[in-house]
Symmetry: C2
Subunit: 249 residues, 2 copies
């Protein structure tokens, strides 16, 4: 059994003297010019796969000394077709070789067996009659708790024994956050995002830094202090600090 994710995260932040997370959101039309030489020949899928991989390696190599983790946006790899998962796996391997944690930004959420399958895909492994299929090996996965605590617990049932963690969406920074996240609930008008924060706090382990983190939009700073009150032991993932950047607090 691995050390709990909260401990691993705290140790990594201390060792690297950084709480910065490098976002990786590769757009095939906007890669670093140095990556394009890797295209080679073959069908478009293979050429794109090579350039996206080269781009991510270049970015990681350039930034690794200053950061504690990478956060690949899984959507950007899924759209690469059959090659996408292979490229994502290679990017994660490269980040690990540079001593970085990997936060798979997939925002998954589903009921029991489906949530378990996602956790196996990203954080664990899948049992088969022919032996286990290893998952992506990410250190943490972003998750969506709209469907409730049991759906997050199903992810956590796989993650926690592996020393892996979650970052659950609480209050995001897009304009649409007003539609559901900000709705006032109950007699006191507590917003939905504060209820989500309570849910996150309730799922944390016994460590001083929880293995269930929160995604908190950095462009809503007035909420951050309130969120810290609600989630005193929860690591915060703040996307949007800088271009494709983020930070763990």
């Amino acid at each position: 059994m691995s050390a709990p994710f909260g401990q691993r995260l705290a140790a990594a932040v201390a060792a690297r003297e950084s709480n910065i997370v490098l976002g990786l959101d590769p757009d095939p039309m906007r890669l670093w010019p140095g990556a394009l030489a890797a295209a080679g020949d073959g069908p478009p899928e293979q050429r794109v796969a090579r350039t996206v991989l080269a781009h991510c390696h270049l970015v990681i190599d350039a930034v690794a000394p200053a950061v504690v983790a990478v956060k690949p946006q899984v959507a950007c790899f899924e759209r690469l077709g059959a090659q996408g998962r292979t490229v994502l796996g290679a990017v994660c391997d490269h980040a690990r070789e540079r001593g970085l944690l990997v936060i798979a930004d997939a925002k998954r959420g589903d009921i029991d067996v489906s949530a378990r399958a996602y956790a196996e895909a990203f954080l664990g492994r899948t049992a088969t009659p022919y032996g286990p299929i290893e998952g992506l090996g990410a250190d943490a996965l972003t998750a969506n708790a709209y469907m409730g605590a049991d759906t997050v617990e199903a992810l956590l049932a796989v993650a926690r024994p592996e020393g892996r963690g979650l970052f659950v969406l609480v209050r995001t920074s897009n304009p649409g956050a007003a539609d559901l996240e900000d709705l006032p609930t109950g007699p006191d008008g507590v917003p939905v995002w504060a209820r989500a924060a309570e849910l996150v706090a309730g799922l944390g382990g016994a460590d001083s830094l929880s293995d269930v983190g929160a995604v908190v939009g950095a462009t809503a700073p007035e909420h951050v202090s309130r969120l810290r009150e609600l989630m005193p032991r929860t690591p915060f993932l703040l996307p949007g600090v800088g271009a494709q950047g983020g930070r763990v607090e």
Copy 2:
């Protein structure tokens, strides 16, 4: 430009005289025995990929005459590793050859560019310097609207011109639905799920059957009539009717 998804769905339901959706949630440890002969040799990933594909083909062939669509649970394919997307693509191709619509059950939700990337992956295609990478070609995608209408609109911006649709989570049937979905909001105590329903209804196109559907837990029948009032032109996807089954109403 393809016909709108609502029209395509209505036509398919009429032509096939069925509103039943076949759920595909393959577990490598619980496949139909007839699929295991396809395992062949090689590393576990390849053997599992072959058996999962054979299983899904067998299930589709057995049930196709009675259903209008298949709903592959994407988590079950993601956990197959690098082979997962290839297997999922082949399953979707097979369903289409049997005349079925494909609803990718991925419950995606993310901000603007990331949502767009998911829509490209499942419903559209991705521009690259070497030519477009075709997506999965699903007819519809399930989505999570916790982050608000703009995140669903970003999916729809890709889906609608392609004649593809969405099914947005509104009220699910798991116990955890009480945690956030059921919270009473505002002075009238309107539950969050009803706000989500209004959001869904507001995104629908001009057709008599909208291209933005709703996922409604079939085990909460007391909610269905209220949801129909809130979303008069919205197709409902009701998971949980029968084992791995569902229905479009």
